[in-house]
Structure formats: C-alpha cells, structure tokens
C-alpha cells in the first residue's frame, strides 16, 4: 500500500482510439474501503476509464494497485491481481446458463461467496439452468455483479452503471448489494443516478471531456447545485438518468 492510503492510483491515463483522443490524461486515486463514485456527463469517458484501468483498450499512463504497477500486464493478469469488473452493458454470456456464467468466474476460494450472492440474489439459484441471454435486464445485472463477487481475491471492483435501465425496486436492491459488496472490497462506481451515487459513495471523481475536473467529497459536489450543474449537466442533476 502506498503512503497516503490509496488502493488504486491512476496516473495520466490516455486512451486514443483511431484518430480521436478519448482520455487526455486522467489522474485520480481510490481510497481503500468504501465506494468512490466516478461521475460525469454522457460520453465523457467513464467507461473508457474503467476499460483503460483493466487494459481492455490500448492506453498509456500508469495504473497501480496497492503499489503494484498493473499497466504492463495483460488483462487477465490485472484481474488476477484483484480487479473485478462489472461492465456497463453487463456482458453476460447469453448462450451459457446462469450457473455456467458463475462457474466461469469461480476461483478456488469462491465457495463461501456463493452464500453471499444467493442471499443477495436468490433468483440466481432458482434460475441456475436458464440461459443468461433470456434473463431480464435486472437479472442479468445480478449475474454480472455475482461474477465479480465470486472472486474472493478481488480487492477493487470496477462497476459501470449497475442501475442503468432498472426499475426503482431493482435499483434499491442493487444499491443494497453494492453496500454489502463495499464491506468486502473497495468499489469504483460509475453511476448516473445521482441519488444513488450520493447515497453510496463517500468520494467522487468527476470527468469532463476526458479528464478529471473534480475529486473530493461527494457532498461537496452533489449538495452544491452550481457545481453539480457545471460538471454533471442539467440532465444529470436530480435523480434521473
């Protein structure tokens, strides 16, 4: 662990796809424990930041986890170092059953995690034999979260808009699940639903046009209408999508 107690350091992350620069040097830190929000308007590069941390897109810059540099490693090694990922569009394996999706994410130490995920999402046990592609959006989100939780060596979970497109009831369940997850791993959470972000996150990092424009306490941002409007846009202010 580094001196100031941060678990994840992102330094000068740059992503260029084709001709367009998507991230122009993103730097921030994620404190160990709890939930850090990664906010910003649509298209500012939140998803790309998460994918850049994992190495799913070609990038430059430096990413370290508990002092260990990850940047040169292949994706699967980065994940094996303890970085879990719940992608924006869930990316469940639609042709595989729920049980197979989970089995794929299983590690040697996953046994006791099954109890947790079935407690949070009993549907996953009931629908073990169902093809994940035929699940509802909310149920697919459960699979995606469960996959990340099954790996007990995950130290930080990168979770991208887990409440997107979900009913209010399901948003609540996902938020509860995130709160439980935050007790066993640090979470970097992309969340458009400001109410949810405000409720869950302690710190926030705000991106705008491919770089960090705000980093600090969630209340300082969200409770200041002028700041919130400036960084998150009118559409994001309030609770909506």
């Amino acid at each position: 662990m580094s001196a100031n107690g941060a678990l994840l350091h992102v330094h000068d992350l740059r992503v260029t796809i084709g001709e367009s620069q998507i991230l122009g040097g993103v730097s921030f830190q994620v404190r160990e424990g709890g939930i850090t929000g990664l906010l910003g308007r649509n298209g500012v590069g939140k998803t790309t930041t998460l994918r850049g941390i994992l190495g799913l897109v070609p990038r430059t810059g430096k990413v370290t986890l508990a002092g260990e540099e990850l940047t040169a490693l292949p994706v699967h090694s980065i994940v094996q170092r303890g970085v879990g990922y719940v992608p924006e569009d869930r990316d469940v394996f639609g042709g595989l059953t729920v049980e197979e999706n989970l089995r794929l994410a299983e590690r040697a130490d996953s046994e006791h995690r099954y109890a947790l995920i079935y407690e949070l999402f009993p549907e996953l046990r009931e629908r073990a034999a169902q093809r994940a592609g035929t699940l509802s959006g909310g149920q697919q989100q459960m699979v995606a979260l469960a996959r990340a939780l099954l790996n007990a060596s995950n130290r930080i979970l990168l979770i991208d808009e887990p409440t997107k497109g979900l009913s209010p009831l399901m948003v609540k369940r996902v938020a509860d699940a995130l709160q439980r997850a935050a007790q066993i791993a640090t979470i970097l959470l992309v969340e458009q639903n400001l109410a949810v972000a405000r409720h869950l996150a302690s710190d926030v990092v705000v991106l705008d046009q491919g770089s960090v424009v705000f980093a600090g306490d969630v209340a300082a941002l969200v409770d200041d209408p002028a700041l919130a409007r400036r960084y998150l846009g009118l559409s994001a202010a309030g609770s909506g999508h």
Binding site: L54, L56, P74, V75, H76, V79, Q80, Y85, P87, D91, F93, G94, G95, L96, E100, R103, L104, A105, R107, R147, N151
Partner: protein, 293 residues
C-alpha cells in the same frame, strides 16, 4: 435400394471427413476470428506423416494402420500448435495479416510436399478387412466407410463432451461469445487459443489419415479440396457451432454423392454451392449459428 444405401453410407463417410476438418475451422473462427487457410495443410502433412510412419514400421497391417493414425493425429496437432504460436499469435488484431500468412503457409506446404514426394497419388496399404465390404440392406459397403464414420462420431462426441462438460470447454464457449469479457474474468484466453488450434489440428490430422483410408491413396492437393468443402460446411452449419458443422457436413456429403450419381458428375458440387448461397441469403448465421454448441 442397395444403391441408395451405398450412396447414403458413402455420402455420410465423405461428410465425416468434411466434419473432421470443419470442426477445427469452426472453433478457431468462433473463438479467435481467424480464418485458417492453413487447415488443409494440417490435413496434408498428417496424411503423409501417417503414410510414412506406417510404412516405416515392419508390423502387421492393422498395427501399421493404427500407428499411421496416431502419427497423423500427432503431426496435425503439432503443426497446428506451431502455426498458432509462430504465425498467428504475433498477428492478433491484424486479420488481413493472418489471412495472408495462413494462405502462404498453405501454398508453401503444398509446394514442399509436392517437391519432396511428387504430385502423383500414392497407394496406401490397408488391412485386408478394410479392403473388403460388408453387406448392409443388400448394398456392399466398403468397410472403410464404417471406420471413418465411427471415428468421426467419436470425435463429435468427444468435442461435445469437451465443450459442455469441461472447464476449458466452458471457456471456449464463453470466448466464442465475448472474448474480452472472458479475460475480464481473469482467464487467460490465449491458452484456450492454443488448445483450440491443437484440437482442430488433431481432428484435421485424423481426417488426413482417414482420407487416405477412405480413398486408398494420398496426394498433395486433397487437403485443399477438403479445406474448401470444410469452409462451406462451416458456413452452412453456423460459424462456431460443432453440431451445426456435423449436420452441414452430412448434408453436403450426401448432396454431393446423390446428385453426382443420379444427375451428373459435378451437379452435386454445384448444388452444394447453391445451398451455400441459399443459406447465406436466408440464414446468414448458418443453420445452427450462434453460441458454440
């Protein structure tokens, strides 16, 4: 009636050879999005490796045949793994480069085999039983047809078992759907790439030796013909689907045999192309396209 039975079994036997080549092509495409034009070269090299391994051995014809079979499987697998590691791996994300190197490898292999062993077909010696026929519903069926069908059936069962029941099979099925999500779960997908090449190469190698058993000869260019038929089978069956390949291989083999016999030589092959065009127009994903099944 007996002609129909003969054509049926012979067509299925031919389909079995197509399937053995197509299975690997299909998995390789499904998982890695690589069009492996070198797959016919695996077939050819295995056929010759099997031939020379068998003839080098002073043993009974059955033992020779069996040693040739193992040598062919081994040669196909080793050649495929080397191809993946040396030629394909450095070119991931460069599909045009991959097509070029695999086409180049196919041409170079053809030229080398021709240069070394000549372009004339060579007779293979088979155990007596394989030169004989068995009467089935009045038709005298060459026993080799049964051998080819049996082994291809075993390979199909083995592949399905691998895909459905093993961890690596699960990884392959998931990888066919979404490779980068598999690595985002901490799984080294590239190891599965090598494995899939090994499996595909061994199946093509088996086909190389069984092709020699089926036709009674080996020659340098049959691998190319097989490759073309196998590509058609893969597209009709659905890229990435093993069951689809098996089904399509049977259809293509039967269509060729029946039409070439009852219409005129060449009509069967033409009909296959029509079928291919029809599938591409009506079901672009193939008969059983989608996840690896």
């Amino acid at each position: 009636m007996s002609t129909i039975v003969l054509l049926l079994v012979t067509g299925l036997g031919l389909g079995a050879l197509y399937f053995l080549v197509a299975a690997g092509l299909s998995l390789i495409w499904g998982l890695m999005r690589v069009l492996n034009f070198a797959h016919g070269a695996f077939f050819t090299v295995a056929a010759y490796a099997g031939f020379f391994a068998a003839t080098a051995l002073p043993a009974s014809p059955w033992l020779q045949w069996f040693v040739g079979l193992l040598a062919g499987i081994l040669a196909g697998g080793v050649f495929a793994v080397l191809t993946e590691i040396i030629l394909i791996r450095p070119l991931y994300r460069r599909p045009v480069g991959q097509v070029l190197v695999t086409v180049g490898l196919a041409l170079a292999t053809l030229a080398l085999v021709e240069g070394a062993f000549g372009s004339d077909p060579r007779q293979v010696t088979l155990p007596d039983w394989m030169n004989a026929t068995t009467t089935l519903l009045g038709a005298a069926i060459p026993n080799t047809r049964f051998v080819v069908l049996l082994l291809a059936g075993l390979v199909l069962a083995g592949l399905l078992f691998f895909l459905q029941r093993t961890r690596y099979g699960l990884i392959v099925r998931a990888g066919v759907e979404n490779r980068s999500m598999v690595s985002a779960l901490g799984i080294d997908v590239e190891r599965a790439f090598t494995l899939v090449f090994a499996i595909g190469g061994m199946a093509a190698g088996l086909a190389g030796v069984l092709g020699a058993t089926y036709y009674g000869t080996i020659d340098p260019s049959r691998g190319t013909t097989m490759l073309i038929s196998a590509f058609i089978v893969v597209v009709i069956g659905g890229l990435g689907s093993i069951t689809g390949s098996a089904l399509a291989a049977a259809i293509v083999g039967l269509l060729q045999q029946f039409l070439n016999f009852y219409a005129a030589a060449g009509v069967g092959d033409f009909a296959v192309v029509i079928l291919l065009a029809g599938v591409l127009l009506l079901r672009p994903g193939g008969l059983l396209g989608g996840p690896a099944t």
